[in-house]
């Protein structure tokens, strides 16, 4: 019995459809990313040293160590930049040491006294752990090749420094200047070397060339009326200080006072 033509066509189409589907399923062999797994692995002593890598590093390490590990001073307690809201023991030390050295150099070279030292919190790259202090510590604290610079600023810009400090809420190392604020972080008074600020007076501010050239957006340095390059790397300044003293002081005096 011949099949009704209509039925035949339907079947034919069905086969065609299936075949088409088959081809389609073969051609769309598309890849899908259906699963993701993420983890962070701590690198601990669980992993032994790769000998090839270790042997490659050794001559470099030996050369540097010879230079770095001679003991220069002693640190009675760990000085840490993360301890303190408005000032830290390590920041105080760095600001005071830099102040003293810059003041001596400025007096010899320019016959002027320094008023303020301002560095940046971000520039302190390590703690000074309790114990022996070496050249290595100086490198870790200050790996950057930044140099000492003294900027001559008007009193007006010194006030900008104070506002910058309070707005930024960071314990930038500061020396020679005291800022008193109330509980709303409003500035109540600013003194430099114990005296109120005179807008037209020129103040001498020691800092790093990084900050002087726009680092950390310390824009007040752009308005400096004079600059004195001290040609002294801040790290070398620190190393020379470590060589001078036996024991590092732990300086907790307040530069920003919250009343």
């Amino acid at each position: 019995m011949p099949l009704p033509k209509k039925y035949n066509t339907t079947l034919n189409r069905f086969v065609l459809f299936l075949t088409f589907l088959l081809i389609l399923s073969c051609s769309t062999n598309k890849l899908y990313n259906n699963r993701i797994e993420g983890k962070n692995i701590s690198i601990t002593t669980e992993y032994k040293d790769n000998t090839e890598i270790e042997n490659f590093i050794t001559p470099y390490r030996n050369h540097i160590n010879k230079d770095l590990d001679s003991v220069l001073a002693y640190c009675p307690e760990t000085l840490d930049k993360s301890q303190g809201k408005w000032q830290t023991s390590i920041g105080n030390l760095m600001a005071d040491v830099t102040f003293e050295t810059a003041d001596k150099l400025l007096l010899i070279r320019e016959n002027k006294h320094l008023d303020i030292c301002l560095l940046n919190h971000g520039g302190i790259r390590s703690i000074i752990p309790k114990g022996n202090v070496t050249t290595r510590n100086a490198y870790e604290i200050m790996p950057f090749e930044n140099s000492l610079i003294v900027a001559a600023l008007k009193g007006e810009q010194v006030k900008e420094i104070a506002q910058y400090m309070i707005d930024g809420k960071k314990p930038h190392p500061l020396s020679g200047m005291q800022i008193v604020i109330d509980s709303n972080n409003t500035i109540k008074s600013i003194t430099v070397q114990g005296k109120p600020i005179n807008d037209s007076q020129v103040y001498y501010v020691a800092t790093s060339d990084y900050l002087f050239n726009g680092g950390d957006n310390m824009d007040f340095f752009k308005k400096a009326i004079a600059q004195y390059d001290m040609d002294y790397k801040l790290r070398n300044l620190l190393i020379d200080y470590f060589k001078e003293v036996d024991t590092l002081p732990v300086i907790t005096s307040q530069r920003i006072v919250n009343e």
């Binding site: 086969v15 399923s25 993701i36 797994e37 962070n40 992993y47 490659f56």
Partner: protein, 301 residues
């Protein structure tokens, strides 16, 4: 009658073949891509000493090499990436200018890196001078190096093909003004990361037909005190087609991979492993033939 039989049999056969084929195609082995990453290693080549108050006995390139080697033994398709700030932080950089960092990363078989702000610390010339020691490339899509010596050397992105899977990796860098001395980065032009990403992800998806898009970012994870500053979170939210952002700069130790939604409501993974080579990040992507699952991707972090 016979004809009908034939047609019916063919139809059944066709259906059977179809079923069989699709079944076999679903049984194809799953393709796995393993992404390993570091960021902000900052010249930390040796492990921290045993008396370090914070990271005692942690990190070290020789140990990282052992870990990476063991992962490579178990996984065929590995990409090893770094999100910048390779330089600066130990005397190795001050004494050798980055030579040892690049040589070791080459020995570990890094595939690609982007530039962090500290990679400019010896100037753009200092970076350029160390490039012969790096057997891997650098990418940055938002630094325009046209008027610098890195022109044509640092490309916006690179496409890798691993086991038939196309992986596009592009780089993003942080705004340099105010962070790096202009005398160091010279005529490098910083462009807005989000605008650049919109273009680059389109290129990677449509022109380069990438199955996976990864951003090597040194723009930072999040700035709580400066919510308007562009960061990895806003980058993920305001763009599309990124699968994974490998972050850096903020030294953020993420306990687990962060998941954010993009403009299309799709998940973007963000991972960052702190700093100093203390950790290695690992993200595994599994690819299957067939169709996209209805429930979206399963993400285990």
């Amino acid at each position: 009658m016979k004809r009908r039989d034939f047609i019916q049999k063919t139809a059944a056969g066709s259906a059977l073949v179809l079923g069989g084929l699709s079944l076999s195609s679903f049984n194809d082995p799953v393709k796995k891509i393993t992404i390993l990453h570091t960021n902000d290693v900052h010249s930390h080549i040796d492990p921290f000493p045993a008396d370090d108050p914070r990271n005692a006995n942690m990190g070290g390139v020789a140990r990282r090499a052992t870990l990476i080697e063991s992962i490579r033994q178990e996984n065929e398709n590995v990409l090893l990436l770094d999100a910048g700030d390779i330089f600066q932080g130990t005397p190795y950089f001050n004494y050798y200018g980055g030579e040892l960092e690049f040589k070791l990363m080459s020995m570990l078989k890094y595939d690609l890196a982007t530039l962090g702000n500290h990679d400019f610390d010896n100037g753009i010339d200092g970076f350029y001078a160390q490039l012969p020691h790096a057997k891997f490339d650098f990418v940055s899509a938002n630094y325009d190096f046209k008027n610098t010596m890195l022109d044509g050397i640092v490309k916006p992105y690179k496409v890798f093909v691993k086991n038939g899977i196309r992986i596009g990796v592009f780089g993003l860098g942080i705004e340099l003004a105010g962070l790096v001395d202009k005398r160091l980065y010279k005529e490098t032009v910083y462009n807005d990361p989000i605008e650049v990403t919109k273009d680059i992800t389109k290129t990677l998806k449509q022109d380069e037909k990438c199955d996976l898009v990864i951003c090597l970012s040194h723009i930072g994870f999040l700035y709580k005190n400066d919510p308007d500053k562009v960061c990895d979170i806003t980058l993920a939210q305001k763009t599309r087609n990124i699968d994974l952002i490998i972050g850096g700069h903020t030294h953020t130790f993420l306990k687990k991979t962060y998941i954010e939604k993009n403009l299309d409501g799709e998940e973007v993974l963000i991972n960052q492993v702190g700093c100093y080579g203390l950790n290695l990040g690992q993200v595994d992507f599994y690819f299957e033939n067939g169709s996209k699952t209805f429930n979206g991707r399963s993400i285990t972090v």
